[in-house]
Structure formats: C-alpha cells, structure tokens
C-alpha cells in the first residue's frame, strides 16, 4: 500500500454565513487521493453549502482551502473534477437537450466550431460514459422525458466524461428506488476501487455508513464526529480510472 499522502483537498478552519445565520463554523478536514468520504447531516445542516465551498462555488467567510494543492485562483484542471449537484434539473422538462448533449457537455475540450460536427474521439468518450452509467439506450431521448432516477444517471455520466480524479455527489439517491440505489452504490464502489476519490453527501445515515470508508457528521454548523470503517481496508490503488 503506497502512501503518497498529499491531500487532494485541504480545508482549514472554514467559516461560512449567509447574512446573519452561521452555516459552517470552524470546519477542518482533508481529503486524500483514493478516499471514499461520506458527509452526513440533517436537512439544512449545511452539507450543500460545504460542498459548494469545497468546489470553489462559494467563498468561505473565513478560512482557507487548497484544492489539488492550489488556491482556486490557480486551479485550472477542472476536467479532474466531476460534480453532480443536488436537484439538478428538477423542473425544467422543456429544456431542449438530449441525453447525449448533456453528457457531452461534461468535457469542454472545445476546438473552433467542433460542436457542429463532434469528432470520433469525442463520440467514443461520450459513449463510454453512457455505458458506464447504463444509459446507452437513452442517448437520443430528451432529458425532460426521463424519470428522476434516469436523470440522475445522466448527470453522473456527464460527470464521468472527463475521467475525473474526484467525484462529488450531492444527495444522488434522492427519489431513487431501493433496487436502483443498490446498483448505484455498487457502481460507486467500482469507481472507488480503481482509484477515484469520491465525496458523497447524503442524509441517509444507514446507507452511507455501510458504503463509505470515512464519515463526517455535520451537525449544528460543525463536524461533531468522524468515523472510519475498519472492516474494509483503505486500499489506495494505483490503477488509472480509465481501466474500468
């Protein structure tokens, strides 16, 4: 087991407030390469806010973050990051885009006018992602025609297109039935087993404690507990994500 423990993300004493309400208070933790981390907390406990801060979408009121060892201003390798937001695409059923187009948008390797006639390489990358998420058959469907669970998969496929090293999911199993949820967690496990770092946010305590290797419990603005899974060894595999 190799330990080149340079953290992927370092959060140091993060504070965040919206106007007068404190949302996060003095949050510190590191995320290491290959980890599978769960962030658990009730509704309104600040999970989404914490994720947005981790991803540079919100700026902390106080505190520092190093993202891939850099401040956000210097970070440009966004293809290394896959993000599946909470409630993405909840009510815009008329958005005129196909599953293919949405998945394709996960990689912005735009060359001049390339979008008019997508190249072979681009197509194969999109197809691989669709297959990974098990939605090849939906490729030409419009996003608005899909069920909640199918849509969730589309955005996961989208997040995987750029072969990210870090996958961040915000309550990905909301509105998904039990059987699909089981499949979904198995899928995340395979991604993690080949070295992808995963941060999973959820309010589903049971499932996350079962699946994840380290859990941060977010409660009243602070992380009040961290638990590590002992049964399963933290294996950091050197294999590349592309070998899935």
């Amino acid at each position: 087991m190799s330990i080149n423990m340079q953290p992927l993300i370092q959060c140091k004493n993060i504070f965040f407030r919206y106007d007068a309400t404190d949302v996060l208070r003095d949050i510190s933790f590191d995320v290491f390469p290959g980890e599978y981390i769960g962030i658990i907390g009730g509704n309104g406990s600040g999970k989404t806010t914490l994720l947005k801060i981790i991803l540079g979408l919100l700026h902390p009121t106080k505190g520092d973050i190093l993202f891939f060892d850099q401040p956000f201003a210097d970070f440009h390798d966004w293809h290394k990051v896959g993000y599946v937001p909470q409630h993405v695409f909840r009510n815009d059923v008329n958005f005129p885009a196909t599953v293919w187009e949405i998945v394709e948008s996960g990689h912005l390797d735009a060359r001049f006018g390339e979008w008019l006639v997508p190249g072979k390489k681009k197509c194969s990358v999109v197809e691989r992602s669709l297959k990974q998420a098990g939605i090849e058959h939906l490729a030409s469907k419009r996003i608005g025609e899909l069920s909640g669970g199918e849509r969730q998969r589309v955005f996961i496929a989208r997040a995987l297109v750029s072969r990210p090293e870090l996958l961040v999911l915000d309550e990905p199993t909301t509105g998904i039935d039990a059987a699909t949820e089981e499949q979904f967690y198995a899928f995340l496990r395979t991604l993690n087993n080949v070295g992808m770092t995963i941060i999973l946010v959820s309010h589903d305590l049971e499932a996350v404690e079962r699946e994840v290797k380290r859990v941060l419990y977010l409660n009243h603005c602070v992380i009040d507990r961290v638990s590590k899974k002992n049964e399963r060894e933290v294996v950091l595999n050197e294999k590349k994500v592309s070998n899935i």
């Binding site: 993000y83 993405v88 005129p96 885009a97 196909t98 948008s105 912005l108 008019l116 750029s162």
Partner: protein, 268 residues
C-alpha cells in the same frame, strides 16, 4: 411592377440585407435567453432602448448611439441586480421595462414634435434602415457567429446550470458578460427595423416554435433560424406589396410558425 423590380430601390435592398442578417442573429441570441428562462430580457432592453431614442433625439446625436449606449447600460445593470440576488431576475426585468418606458414617454412628450418618429421606433419601419445599420448588423453577425463557434459548449452548459458550468471550468462571468453585451447590441441594432414593442417576439417566438418539435438543442437552434429566416422574408415582401407594417407582419409570421408547430406536433 414585377417581383424583382423592388430591388431597384436602395432602401429596399438595405432593408432586405438587414433582414437576412437579423433573421439569423435573433434566434441565436433568443435560444439562450429562452432556455435560461430569460425571455423578457430582450423586451426590457428594447424598452430601455426607446429611452435611448428619446435622449438621442433631444440631444441631436445619432439615434443608434443612444440605443446602443442605453441597451448596454441596462443589460449590465439588470445582470448586476440579478446576480446580487436581492431581486428576482424576473422582477428586475419588469422594473427596467416599465420605468424606462415611462421615462421615454415623458421625455418624448417634452421634446414636442417627435410623435411620428416615436411611432416608427415603436413599431419599426423598413424605410429607416441606413447603411450604418447594415454594417452594424454585419459586424454583430460576425461577432455572434464567432462567439458561438468558440463558446457554444460553454454557453450551453451555462444555460443548463451555472454551478455545473463553473465546476467544469467555464469562466461564467466572462461568457455571460459577452453574451449579454451581444444581446444588447442585437436589440439596439434591430430596434428600428422591427420596433421596440416587437423585438422581443422576434428573438423568442421562432425559438418557441422550434422547441415544439422536441429535438436536440442543436437541431432546435437550426430550426429556429429557419423559421425566423422565412418569417422575416415573408414579412418583408408582404409588408411591401400590401403596404402593411413590416415588424408586425414578421412577428405574425413567427406566431403562425409557432401555432403550426404546436398543432403539428400534437398530431404526431
């Protein structure tokens, strides 16, 4: 007089060229406005541009300068307020739309003898198209084309979800800034042709018509251009031969395309 004889008139050739350019530019901008639920943005800008017309007439400067200046200023003002998050995007638009209309009506009233002129800016007129307008539209056409050829994916993603765009490395502020500026210039440039009251419809209705066919984003975009192109042409010739208002005729055409698409799709 035969059909082609009308091209002997300089003003008609100019209007025709302007129409062709604008029929392509309008849905390119309108598409992204519609999917961002920002359809009324163009309307707000066109009403603010009217204020620009009033100011330009009062100060005796070229009208185009007035409309460009006010449209750009309003566009960034609206975006600023919307992003500040203190007022709903929709409400910001209503605020700009009505206040600028009120101001321009008052200003034009003070100016006295400008009512006839105002009418042509409200409803558009073929005969007022100048060479300068055509040149501006051509530049705008080139600008919009290049912007989309380079940044289509970024703009698409930005329209889908701003957070997703940011985490994919889209410079959201820059992309949005350029887009908003292009939209403002577009509105100012076509104001005299279609009229302040109808600019919004020209940008939005062909897109809505195309969306009825439930196709991919790209195809919807091209279908919208097709509808808009036909509408502008039919509208122009109808307006000329039957001596009716061009802006209104064009918009009626787009609405007919919308209705046709709506019912055609229902039957399929």
């Amino acid at each position: 007089m035969s059909f082609f004889d009308i091209f002997q008139f300089d003003f008609f050739v100019r209007a025709f060229e302007a129409g062709l350019l604008l029929s392509i530019i309008a849905p390119l901008i309108g598409m992204f406005l519609v999917v961002r639920r920002y359809s009324l943005f163009a309307d707000a800008l066109s009403h603010v541009s009217l204020l620009g017309v009033a100011l330009a007439l009062m100060l005796k400067i070229p009208v185009l300068l007035g409309t460009l200046f006010t449209a750009l200023l309003a566009a960034f003002g609206i975006e600023r307020l919307r992003m500040g998050g203190r007022v709903f995007g929709e409400a910001v638009i209503a605020l700009f739309l009505s206040s600028s209309l009120a101001l321009s009506v008052v200003l034009l009233g003070l100016g006295g003898n400008v009512n006839a002129n105002l009418l042509s800016y409200l409803f558009g007129s073929l005969t007022t198209v100048t060479v300068l307008d055509v040149v501006l539209l051509l530049l705008l056409f080139i600008g919009v084309s290049f912007f989309l050829l380079f940044f289509y994916r970024e703009l698409f993603l930005f329209s889908l979800d701003e957070d997703l765009a940011a985490v994919s490395g889209v410079r959201t502020r820059l992309i949005n800034g350029i887009f908003v500026a292009l939209a403002a210039v577009c509105v100012a440039a076509v104001l005299q042709i279609v009229g302040a009251l109808l600019v919004g419809a020209l940008l939005v209705v062909p897109v809505l018509a195309a969306m009825q066919w439930r196709m991919s984003f790209r195809r919807t975009l091209f279908l919208a251009i097709f509808f808009s192109f036909l509408s502008v042409n039919i509208g122009f010739f109808a307006a000329y031969f039957f001596d009716i208002a061009s802006g209104g005729t064009i918009v009626i055409c787009t609405v007919l395309f919308f209705l046709g698409s709506f019912f055609a799709h229902r039957r399929i």
